[in-house]
């Protein structure tokens, strides 16, 4: 594995988006993962529609029919991938733009699909496996506990204590080997995370969190997706 890796330098990551006051982080995480996978499969980076999932994806957990993807009320990236497998894929951001509300009707047009899922799977709670899957398959959809993110401005976040209960969907796009941790008197490795709260949050929309100890649950709910090579 390379000591440092960043899919942003390799053209697989679209610009930072803003979910607004809507709990649709799960759709941003899923769409961003498919954007990366589609780039690896086709060589084209296309910004994909989160609104399509907000409006049209109501996939429920097989075992718990009340646990469903529910627009601004929340969802899960893996059930979103199931929806994408069944529906055929995602339209582009341009064709199906984000509105930040879930009050509209589903306007999905299958003939306009720009990227399709061929498969998805979960990655074990192991930092090397997460890194290997990142490098091989592209950016990874992950869950994280966001309690420290409300006040985060920059640097490598490495809280002494953080709940591992994930409540926010984001995307791992890379990792670094040496984030400075002054209190520990040494450099610490970190994950580079793309968030969906706009560029005026964090480090131009990105978050760095230390790597290897499942801090804030960031290494416990990781999924990888692969894309069909030529949906249209």
């Amino acid at each position: 594995l390379p000591s440092d890796f960043d899919w942003r330098d390799r053209g697989a990551v679209t610009g930072v988006k803003d979910q607004g006051s809507c709990g649709s982080c799960w759709s941003f995480s899923a769409a961003a993962a498919l954007e990366g996978a589609n780039y690896l499969a086709t060589g084209h980076l296309i910004s994909l529609s989160e609104q399509q999932m907000v409006d049209c994806d109501h996939t429920c957990d097989d075992s718990e029919p009340d646990a469903c993807d529910e627009g601004c009320n929340g969802g899960l990236m893996t059930t979103a991938f199931e929806y994408l497998l069944k529906s055929g894929g995602l339209e582009t951001e341009k064709d199906y733009p984000y509105t930040g509300t879930d009050r509209g009707a589903c306007k999905f047009d299958k003939s306009e699909v720009a990227a399709s899922v061929s498969n998805f799977s979960v990655v074990s709670v192991d930092e090397d496996q997460i890194a290997a899957n990142l490098v091989k398959h592209g950016p990874l959809a992950v869950g994280i506990n966001a309690v420290f993110m409300q006040t985060y401005i920059g640097g490598v976040s490495c809280p002494y204590i953080c709940s591992k209960h994930q409540d926010h969907g984001v995307l791992i796009v890379g990792y670094g080997s040496a984030g400075y941790a002054p209190i520990r008197l040494k450099d610490k490795p970190y994950w580079i995370i793309k968030n969906s709260w706009g560029q005026n949050w964090g480090e131009h929309g990105y978050y760095k969190i230390c790597k290897g100890r499942n801090i804030c649950g960031v290494e416990a709910m990781v999924s990888t997706v692969s894309a069909v090579t030529s949906p249209r």
């Binding site: 649709s24 799960w26 075992s63 290997a132 409300q150 920059g154 976040s157 002494y160 926010h168 209190i183």
Partner: protein, 123 residues
């Protein structure tokens, strides 16, 4: 510090800063609290915030001050990052969760999805 180390399983957390942190990034948070009025004005301007009336303004200022204290606590718990005023500084933690977080609790589906095969990680 020992409790924190036990919780995280990291012996390094036993190293604890004992000197005054005024010269560090986190040290500026006391200044933030002392000048909360001015910082709230800057916050409103920088993030284009408008409230419905004086009561809402007063309530949001109270929440803002609570978030300054929270940022200071986060800075102590998370010294390698910088914590402070963000565009969410006028939201209570509950409002923040309701408006900006939306990951459903992971149930059976995640466990039944097939695991990614182990990849080689050396060479």
């Amino acid at each position: 510090a020992a409790a924190a180390a036990a919780a995280t399983g990291d012996e390094e957390t036993l190293i604890r800063q004992v000197v005054d942190s005024a010269s560090t990034a986190g040290g500026s948070k006391d200044d933030l609290l002392l000048n909360a009025d001015a910082h709230f004005s800057s916050f409103l301007r920088d993030f284009g915030k408008n409230y419905s009336g004086p009561e809402e303004h007063a309530h949001r200022f109270k929440v803002f001050k609570a978030n300054l204290r929270r940022a200071r606590r986060h800075q102590k718990l998370d010294p390698s990052a910088v914590h402070g005023i963000t565009k969410f500084s006028d939201l209570t933690p509950a409002e923040f969760r309701r408006m900006y977080l939306g990951l459903r609790k992971n149930r059976r589906s995640f466990r039944t999805i097939h695991d990614a095969p182990n990849l080689p990680t050396n060479d």
